[in-house]
Point group: C2
Chain length 466, copies 2
């Protein structure tokens, strides 16, 4: 049977290591098309890991198309003869098949904006006006933090909606939060220890790993990240989303927030990265103030994005640095060009200044409210309702659904996939999977087609009943 | 007198270290507004460095506004009381002055596109069509390398204009070459040693430094980077621009290219980064083939940008990875989202597909040809012509001008600045300044206003004659 070593894998989660080993063997041809992979149970016993580890590795390989499954038979290696590593064809005749992502009937994992919700006509108008009026500014290299007028507009927006009082000079615009995380490592130091939430948004971990900095995975309790664990981890920088944790939805209360600021205050090198990725979309109750707004010691680096409030395909995010770090960025890293197009920076400036952003957020909040209610209603009316428990439904765009089933997360995910549904289990977001988080699924409703919701829930119920 | 230590500064150029020391003292208030800095000669003697080192440090501080100069008096610390580090004003009353870049009568250092040269009406049309036709694709997350159809269009362009035969899957689009350099460090490894050209484009060094990887500065000869020096440097990766070196304009001949490929072939970990930043704008003679096009061992990573062929303010660049590295990127780093907006990717795809890029490049090549001739003619007609020697004028956008003068590079640059001219000396691009590259200036004509050229040359001559 296949055997892989789990020695010296450092901080890499077990399932991820296993997934990479198998993938490598598929890519380099050791495992060939059509080969059957070992059953999860016997493979796990052979490797000395839990069955969940193998399951998660297989799920990842499945979702990326490296393997496929046959009902009641098992998992098989996909055909890779048309891959990039096949012998090069000469000249122009060579047209490999396009990378076509699968299309789902209902995708509960995606946070994409639906095309009908993007304000195309307003955006087209603003872009047209931008090109008419700004000919010479459009061709002028902006400061490294971005176009000053856009940073002013963002500062105004933050004052109005997050009670944050910051100067435009503290705001740095970049092509996506992923890019900004990388800038932060360069600013704060490769020698620092970075703490991230467990469970958490997996890309944060992947990016810190790609920058080869030391990471610590800090457990959460019902109030957010645990301060005792954070303290003993030896971390310098902690990366959190206190206003709406992904994926659990936990909101960190003010007492824990002050404890976090207290933790940061105990050493000069400590900083808190506040990832405020969807604070605009709290659907019920008062908005949660930003941690940054109660930070008097200038220890909080605030990050937000227009991915949720506009579209993730435009790639516009920003960070607000404490003044000392803003000065340091300016002095050490201002050689970097701003990564967002001038054209879109000026259009976005108008979008904010002329009140369109506020209107759009209000419209989207109402839309998500209705979308959530439609989904909750469909579940309630379905026989599925006797098998599920729903939590954290007050914030926008997703909630958690615990399903009472004997199926493993991988089995249910795979059954759903065959019915055109894309589901992601909460367990996938843990650094090391633990037993008690099985059977909980993240239900993201932002990209669902409203008319598909009842049928999607019917299909989900079928997955359990089969 | 001010004293700074030059111990333990590693690879940092002397002038850069001195510049940073002084800047820190200005920012932290040790040197206060209005204080006079030591004269270059006595400061150099005191520090045990050459006068050129002090000159270059002062020139950098001048250009960033940290110090100012008074004729026949010397250099003084600027007023920084309105800086970010001043006590925070409360609430909205606080509106610090905008960062306003100086406006030059003629800027020989800028490579910005002139607004009248950007194809605004075509771009506006394509953007409008993109928003009309692509509603749903615009909201769909593209693969990490970018929108497939754009990568196909770029592959077609490279086949036609650079005789490069690459698959769209090898092309990775990113928000500027600076961003791509960072991805390459993550892909090739933080433990690798990176060799860069001396002299060279300073940002390349700054980015590798910001990623804290080991750098080696390799001297050039008339054919490009020296292979003997490269071999003895112990470098794994060499970053070069063989088709048109910046700033010297050197074109690496085919013999040296094969030597470079030979160097790369001698170890698995070796790679060549070919930065082909302005190959479209060779004005005279045959186009220079890309190194990538003669690379059979897949050792060349090709990088290019639309900064020169369209505008640097849109931030669209790409790299072509050898197939094995493309696979590795896909498997290890495909979690990264593409950093360029879908809107601009689709508009650019149409721009290339519908032949506009080719037309635009031809138009710009003619424009730069005329612009260069106007500048050369103005120099020839001016008394300046008896004091200058021009080299490397066949490639586009800039040439070198050696000026016969007793003025130091800093003095001349500063005199020119006062007359509204921005000049950059070749010596600024050397890792460690050496004596024999004084008095050579980079004359970039891409952003000049044509009507300003004769007057600009008149003023430049005045600087010498004063």
């Amino acid at each position: 049977m296949l055997t892989y070593s789990f020695h010296d894998i450092g901080n890499t989660p077990l399932y991820e290591h296993l997934y990479k080993c198998i993938k490598n063997d598929i890519v380099n041809g050791t495992l060939t098309a059509g080969m059957k992979l070992p059953s999860k149970r016997s493979f796990a016993a052979n490797l000395g890991v839990s069955a969940i580890t193998v399951e998660n590795a297989y799920a990842q390989l499945l979702s990326e198309g490296y393997i496929y499954s046959l009902p009641k038979k098992g998992y098989y290696v996909s055909d890779f003869s048309r891959s990039l590593l096949a012998p090069p064809a000469s000249g122009e005749a060579d047209t490999p098949p396009k990378e076509k992502p699968p299309v789902y009937y209902a995708d509960f994992s995606s946070n994409q904006t639906r095309p009908e919700n993007f304000p195309f006509s307003v955006w087209a108008k603003l872009m047209r006006e931008t090109m008419q009026d700004k000919n010479s500014e459009l061709m002028t290299k902006p400061p490294c933090g971005g176009i000053y007028e856009l940073r002013e507009a963002i500062a105004g927006h933050l004052r109005q909606f997050r009670d944050m009082h910051v100067r435009p000079e503290q705001i740095f615009i970049g092509a996506g939060t992923e890019y900004l995380y990388g800038l932060l490592v360069q600013l704060l130091g490769f020698d620092k220890v970075y703490a991230i939430e467990n469970p958490g948004y997996e890309k944060i971990d992947q990016i810190y790993e790609s920058y080869q900095v030391s990471r610590r995975f800090i457990d959460m309790d019902a109030q957010g990240i645990r301060i005792d664990r954070l303290e003993e981890s030896g971390a310098d920088v902690v990366h959190i989303s206190p206003s709406h944790h992904f994926p659990t939805g936990i909101i960190t209360p003010v007492s824990r927030r002050y404890e976090l600021l207290g933790w940061a205050a105990r050493s000069d090198s400590r900083y808190i990265v506040e990832d405020d990725y969807d604070s605009e979309f709290r659907l019920t109750g008062k908005p949660i103030p930003a941690l940054q707004s109660i930070d008097l010691l200038e220890k909080v680096i605030y990050i937000n994005t227009f991915s949720k409030s506009l579209t993730s395909t435009m790639r516009i995010s920003y960070m607000v640095l404490p003044r000392r770090l803003a000065e340091e960025f300016q002095s050490r890293m201002s050689f970097y060009s701003c990564t967002v197009s001038n054209f879109e920076q000026y259009a976005l400036m108008r979008f904010i200044r002329e009140g369109y952003l506020e209107k759009h957020i209000n419209r989207m909040r109402n839309y998500y409210h209705r979308q959530r209610d439609t989904l909750l209603h469909a579940i309630k009316k379905s026989p599925l309702s006797s098998f599920v428990m729903i939590t954290e439904e007050d914030s926008g765009l997703h909630f958690l659904m615990k399903i009472d089933t004997g199926l493993s997360d991988t089995e249910l995910t795979e059954r759903a996939r065959k019915k055109g549904l894309r589901l992601t289990a909460l367990s996938r977001y843990y650094h090391r999977p633990s037993g008690n988080v099985e059977h909980i699924f993240i239900m993201n409703y932002s990209s669902l087609e409203t008319e598909h919701i009842p049928e999607a829930i019917r299909r989900l119920y079928q997955c359990l009943a089969e």
